[in-house]
Symmetry: C2
Subunit: 357 residues, 2 copies
DNA sequence: ATTCGCACTGCAATCGTTTGCGGAAACGTA
DNA sequence: TACGTTTCCGCAAACGATTGCAGTGCGAAT
């Protein structure tokens, strides 16, 4: 913290402070060896020193305002009380709540997170992870997982504590915490059929992402469960979770003359694209077609019509991911478990019974 | 990084690697003393070692994949290649772009940022800063500044490199990077009067924040510049940048019977509140009243009507703040300068000529 | 009375760098 | 030849903690 905090204030300070006290300082003051002070201050080793010594050390530490130097500690212990958090892009409104969830539980026990944005660039990802490893982070949480993600798989296989959030790997035992996509589309579909919809299309997201495939799979399952026809025409694969992709998909649907009264969008952005495309064709929502989104992003309740969508508890996703990682750090041998958080439907204005034909 | 990366792969690896190479390793391999290796690898001190030795050390370093250990370096140098970034709440869509701007320029030179959320709680702020200082961060950027913020003032006065982003202090020489609020409201007001509006109200934000007072001040200036009456009735102080506050303000205005054809909201959230209140009274926007926001938050272009607003280049704000901080770290004595970034009006659907009366 | 165990604490090495200091060549100049 | 300068490099001491090991003193067991 350059330059050295000036001690120029004419305050009542007497001691040659200015420098923050070190362990040696409190040891000196308490009349013990630094090693003893260390043991006294560390809960793990506190039982190695007599009660009265420990107490004395603690008092001195408090009075001096001693704060252990995490850097020195890290150097010695190769632990750092920090983790790496790898996300695609903080600017995507999906991620801030996840990040906060993680940071809030981490902060509760003195941990911190390094955040890196990859912009979905594998090169940036490996570089960032390498950089974080050299900073001795104790583990990673990835929000960038693709279905097949050799890099993460290798990292985890090599024993680096790793947890996935929001997205999972295709087949692996890397623990993850995600929303229950299957359950989510199930309730969304039930909602639509209860309104009377029979011809429902799905705008599926990228199929190299677990969210994309899981929602698609669940869509087809729902079709079957409700005895609806699984027509390939009523399915559009979108190559990106983007508004433009959603718009393109439904205009294509419209152009091809496929009939539908409702669309289940793979996420809110795709749903936004729907809005655009429908408006572009003079169709009304929910009058002509109902649409339901996925994620419940901020402000989708402000759209016209307010978007009916499946809410994902992103903050809790993050919080659980942090807890899971912490657990793995503490007990690396415990078998990893993954967590599926329940999703809920937020019923707003973009869904209504189909127009009687 | 526990447990030690298993060296079980039957690959062609021969050396007893597994542990990442240290400076001593490359020194040994290169046949020099670690100190020499250190000097050879460090651009600052490279001139202290002969060209050929330096080259040899570099080669060995590359071949071993040597990466300096930032922890050890930090311990020795009391520098850390990291800074603290203090924001109110990452979940507020204002901040992610700022954060990315900062991280992108920092990352370009090997720096990283610790992010902490204060939720506007001074206690959390001081605790977080203290914790960051013990991690030897080299400086801070604050996005939490209130007009009077003794804590930040003291910190900066004590010589800690500090820069403010998005908000400034009332009176101080702490450098800051903010949008040119005065210019922003000027163009917004010009836009409104050019449309023909004469009775314009302002929803002012919290007056303990620089953004709140600056926009208010500029509003009155604009009134004067355009020869419009500065009526206290046409001004509402909102105690928070929140939708509800905005809504309350305009319903009060309406209840009080004050006449206006346009509202300049202190920010987009307040503008959103306007929308609600107007709709609640059966008034149309922009038919009955025009509204312009401030910030150009994500998705305000999706509202109905799409919000006309003053765009703040948040990413650039962050980027500039990072550059400023870096400059201060390099040349602490250079006098601090503050930066004002130009704002632009994004003309969308929420403004129109007033209804002919 | 000797021995053993135990509780407690100090010693010193260590983590991986950086850096002030001094010494040894090598070189130029008088 | 002698002497001052450079240039280059090694030595060793830091930075602030943690921890294996060993030593001390004490009470209890034999």
């Amino acid at each position: 913290m350059p330059p050295p905090p000036p001690d120029t204030e004419p305050g009542p300070r007497t001691a040659p402070v200015a420098r923050r006290p070190t362990l040696k300082d409190v040891a000196g003051e308490a009349g013990v060896h630094p090693a003893t002070a260390s043991r006294a201050l560390n809960p793990e080793t506190r039982h190695l020193v007599s009660a009265e010594t420990a107490q004395r050390v603690h008092q001195v530490a408090d009075s001096l305002g001693y704060q252990p130097n995490p850097i020195a500690r890290s150097l010695k212990t190769a632990r750092s009380a920090s983790i790496g958090l790898v996300i695609p892009d903080l600017t995507n409104p999906l991620f801030p709540p996840i990040v906060r969830g993680i940071e809030d539980v981490l902060g509760g026990i003195g941990y911190n997170a390094w955040i890196v944005n990859t912009d979905n660039d594998p090169a940036r990802e490996t570089a960032a992870v390498e950089s974080l490893r050299s900073r001795s982070v104790e583990g990673f949480v990835f929000a960038t997982a693709r279905l097949h993600h050799p890099f993460i798989e290798r990292l985890a296989a090599a024993g680096t504590p790793t947890v996935l959030v929001n997205r999972r790997l295709a087949v692996s035992d890397v623990p993850s915490v995600t929303g229950d996509d299957a359950g989510g589309v199930a309730i969304a579909m039930r909602h639509l059929v209860e309104l009377g919809h029979r011809r429902i299309v799905h705008l599926a997201g990228p199929q190299d992402l677990s969210t994309g495939v899981n929602r698609l799979r669940a869509f087809r399952q729902a079709l079957e469960d409700h005895g609806l026809e699984d027509s390939p025409a009523r399915l559009k694969l979108c190559s990106a979770w983007a508004e433009t992709a959603g718009a393109r998909a439904v205009t294509e649907l419209l152009d091809d003359g496929v009939e539908f009264t409702a669309v289940l969008a793979g996420n809110d952005l795709l749903a936004l694209g729907c809005y655009d495309a429908l408006a572009g064709r003079g169709l009304s929502c929910p009058g002509d077609v109902s649409v339901v989104g996925f994620n419940d992003m901020p402000f989708v309740d402000k759209l016209s019509p307010a978007l009916t969508t499946v809410r994902i508890p992103h903050y809790e996703l993050g919080a659980e991911a942090a807890r899971l990682l912490l657990e793995r750090l503490r007990a690396p041998d415990r078998t990893a478990r993954s967590i599926l958080l329940p999703l809920t439907l937020v019923d707003r204005q973009s869904t209504a019974p189909p127009r009687p034909s």
